[in-house]
Amino acid sequence: MTIKVGDEIPELVKHPTTRQLVQYAGAQGDFYEIHYDQAFAQSVGLPGVILHGLLKAGFLGQLVTDWLGDRGTLKSFEVSYRGIDQPGRPYTCRGRVTKVDGDQVELEVWGEDSTGNRTTVGTATLAMKG
């Protein structure tokens, strides 16, 4: 299959729960209370507990590696967190090919909240197998 600019990556929909945030906190070793303690989260001005940025990065990483398979290697992966996301709401990961230069492919990736707002945006650079 030839990869070309504009190709869309099949979307990945996640349904994060507070339980999953606790699971992720343990697995990453990030115990910042805004991810599992409702009262603490509110005390620092948040509406409630929020997803770890790096969990959202993990979702987007999965989007990329699911699509890439064994066709190539991930060379760089960058994400910016633009907005907060709360558990109990679907989180949709999407992406598309923005550049193809020989065996180098660049992707634009993003995560959307349930209203379609892009709360995480990023890029990935891939080296495809010849």
Partner: protein
């Protein structure tokens, strides 16, 4: 009382200086818990680290606790990973972090402190496997 300016100055004095290195082995059980938490069931991760796993192996950044006198909470601004070599189960990874930049910005909702950090990950063969650059924000 510690002033905001002195916190910024103290952190700025750290720019470019390596923090203490930490070493950790990539364990299959840890990888499994990490990908289960993400909900990524790709069998490939039984033996190989997924793209963001290195943050779970060693504290991502040095000196961040020193910034906690500033503002009341943390925000993660972003992360950039560069990959040089695959990371596999059994690899012994040494992580060395440093503050790359520190600056303040004043916006409509008050002052923010930006801390840009870098972490280099090197394997047991002395080969650089990845570099992480991140932006942590105090507000």
């Amino acid at each position: 009382m510690t002033t905001t300016a002195s916190i910024v100055d103290r952190l700025r004095a750290r720019i470019g200086k390596d923090g203490p290195s930490t070493e950790a082995t990539v364990e299959a059980g840890h990888l499994k818990r990490f990908v289960e938490a993400i909900g990524d069931h790709n069998p490939r991760w039984a033996s190989e680290a997924p793209p963001t796993f290195l943050v779970a192996l060693a504290s991502a950044s040095a000196h961040l606790e020193e910034a906690e006198e500033y503002g009341k909470g943390w925000l993660n601004g972003g992360n950039r990973f560069e990959y040089f070599e695959p990371v596999k189960v059994g690899d012994r990874i040494t992580a060395t972090g440093r503050v790359a930049d520190v600056y303040e910005k004043t916006g409509s909702s008050g002052s923010l402190l930006f801390i840009i950090f870098e972490t280099d990950y090197v394997n047991q063969d002395g080969r650089s496997v990845a570099r992480l650059r991140g932006t942590m924000i105090r507000r």
